[in-house]
């Protein structure tokens, strides 16, 4: 109740402050129709080019039921789903190669469509042709004014993955302790940290941190580089922040290796962690 009231206040007040300058906070269908004809409503993935208008049929067939006619995430199924379908009018996306607060690249959206988002209702749409996906990416981009005025962020650089060594796995544990991943993900990565139970997404809905010990796919992929990207860019719209300012690229790979050791599958990282006798990080520190 409290947060809801706060949120409502925030919206009204923001409108108040902004009203004299910003014309309207709502995106209208007419605007979207207009944006459909703009260069922003296209996509470029490698040598593939997507055209928004070509995706209209597919969007209606596959997507509209959740994401809605206006792309606002208010499709007829939205009321039953949790997490809620993405609101394309906001253009805030979890899976990006770009820094927090920036638009994703076409490639990011293209991959998300085929990958789906585990532990949500978004299935992997990997039966689509590459052309269908490219067109859908273009289509998604006609819903938000952000694509008209902003460019996608610059993808973060991921240095080549170094070899897994005991030193790195151990250093990764130090990073895990220092930036306090455990606050949400728990000391053993079980998604049961002290703050886990109170987490909310940007819509104020409860959301759970990833449970490494369960071993499911990450939200945005399953490779080491995907994991690296997730904590360095953050998952916008969720409590997962970007750690780009506080974890150096070298350390990031260390952290990846330590996080792998928390997963249930047999891996070099897990074997090393076992042979080193690594214990879960301490969560009792109350500072100086």
């Amino acid at each position: 109740m409290r947060t809801e009231a706060l949120h409502r206040n925030a919206v009204i007040l923001a409108a108040l402050v902004a009203a004299s300058v910003t014309a309207c906070a709502q995106v209208t269908e007419d605007q979207q129709k207009q944006w459909l004809g703009t260069p922003a409503a296209s996509s470029h993935i490698g040598h593939l080019s997507g055209n928004a208008k070509a995706a209209a049929g597919d969007y209606r067939r596959y997507c509209v039921v959740c994401h809605g006619e206006l792309g606002d995430g208010n499709g007829e199924s939205a009321q039953w789903l949790d997490p809620k379908p993405r609101d394309f009018t906001l253009a805030v996306f979890k899976c990006r190669s770009t820094p927090t607060g920036t638009l994703p690249t076409d490639q990011d959206l293209y991959e998300t469509i085929a990958r789906g988002l585990d532990r949500s209702n978004m299935p992997p749409w990997n039966t689509f042709t590459t052309q269908q996906r490219a067109d859908l990416v273009a289509w998604i981009k006609h819903y938000s004014p952000r694509w008209q005025t902003e460019k996608p962020g610059t993808p973060i650089e991921i240095p080549p993955e170094p070899e897994v060594t005991p030193g790195r796995v151990k250093a990764g544990r130090d990073v895990f302790a220092r930036v306090q991943c455990w606050k949400c993900h728990g000391a053993e990565g079980r998604g049961n940290g002290p703050s886990a139970s109170t987490l909310q997404d940007d819509l104020g809905r409860p959301i759970l941190p990833y449970n490494f010990a369960e071993g499911g796919r990450f939200k945005c992929g399953s490779t080491d580089a995907d994991l690296y990207r997730i904590f360095m860019t953050g998952l916008d719209g969720t409590p997962m922040p970007s750690f780009a300012d506080n974890i150096k690229p070298e350390e990031a790979w260390d952290l990846v290796m330590y996080l792998r050791s928390l997963q249930p599958f047999p891996s070099k990282e897990k074997a090393i962690a076992k042979s080193l006798g690594l214990t879960p990080v301490s969560t009792t520190s109350t500072g100086p």
């Binding site: 070509a54 049929g57 209606r60 067939r61 596959y62 509209v64 039921v65 959740c66 007829e76 199924s77 039953w80 789903l81 085929a114 789906g116 988002l117 585990d118 532990r119 949500s120 209702n121 978004m122 299935p123 992997p124 749409w125 990997n126 039966t127 689509f128 042709t129 590459t130 052309q131 269908q132 499911g216 796919r217």
Partner: protein, 459 residues
Amino acid sequence: MVSCRRFFVAVISLSCLLASFTPSAQALPAFARKYGLRCSACHEAWPMLNYFGQKFKDNGYQLMNDRDSPIWQNPSYWPMTLRITPYFHRESTDKLPDVVDAPGTTNPSFVRGLTYSGFDHSGLDILTGGTLEKNISFLLVPSADETSAFHMESANVRFDNLFHSSWFNFKLGKFELDNLVSEKRILTLSANGGAYQLYHFIPAGDANIFGQIGDNQLGIEWMGHSVNDRTRISAAIMSTTDGSPDVPYGKNAYSGFFAASQAFDVGKLGTDRIGAYAMVGQAPTVFLTSGGVPIPSTGTGNKSFSREGFVGQFYFNKLNFQVVTQHGTDSAWFGAGFGNPIDNPGFPNNGPGVTLPAGTRNPSWNGAFIETHWVENPQLVFIQRSEWVHMSQQSIPGTPSNLGNTDNYVFGFRYMPLMNNRAGLAWHNEYAWIRQRGTALDGSDTTSSSVMSGLDFDF
């Protein structure tokens, strides 16, 4: 002898046609409810699957988003769908054995046609399916014919993605064969258009009912597919019972069904798929008898049969074609009427001292159908199918070479005024015409047609 066989043929044809009244097709709003997707996500036009729906099925009714296990469902969710079709229809057949004027007659002069019309309803399908646990799926379909006589259309459990691999899926029970173009998802419903002739074809006088790949079968299936379902392959071993429970025919008769297909992206047109299938099996011809009546489950003297062909799905934006071919062969014994005295006690039994009539050969035939769909949008689809099955070798020497040849043409459209994530309703309209060569009592062709208009709904 010939006219006698023709009589059997007429009876068999008629019973086949009547059986096809039951749609027994699969379109499960229960899944739509579970996942919040519309029919159109999985069905090109329900009940016909699209590539996404095919993948969903191949994954064991799972979206693979880690929310497939039933523990994620609201406790009140019950994975059940009912489907039935009330409709008006007009059926016309130009030649029937005239049982009123002369019961049991085989006199060619007693041949007359029949046309009737009226309101009707299809059989009822109760479709329940889903997951028992992540990667353990089930499908149970108690199905009633129009008179409410129930049978189990499907009843199976499937272990999916064993060893974390989409190449290892095993299914046990009564299931739909892994037909790329499955009759369980057919878009036509009428008495003369609601089945693929190829999938049930039996030559005139032949008694092998076991090669009907349109029917669900009892057995075990291994199925594998690539993660995006572009490549699919399966092999199944079934009891040769045409899906009947209690193993009523042979003591040890098994059949196999094999299918493989590969899909290709064709740029802006979409995705095409080509594949092949084969059914090979054995069925008994020798039955123990009691007082002259054959005893179920005693069949021995297995003889073989096979059906094989190619399958293709071709997309040109809104237009798509489904093409299926078949070459079928039965043992000469089946061709001579052996094979199923259990259901038809009048049929011959290969008892002691029985020999195959001299000169009897293995009947064989070739057939194909092309089904064309114009999918104007997910709610409106136009359908046309042309199907031809032609004998290439008759079993009994001297039989007219075209006896039993079947041509079938179907036209229809389905308009789905509502398309949501909870239910489906289609206004179904269809005309079907079928001709079977030489199967009338007087040796002439039998021609039948159906007109129907109904409301196909499931929820």
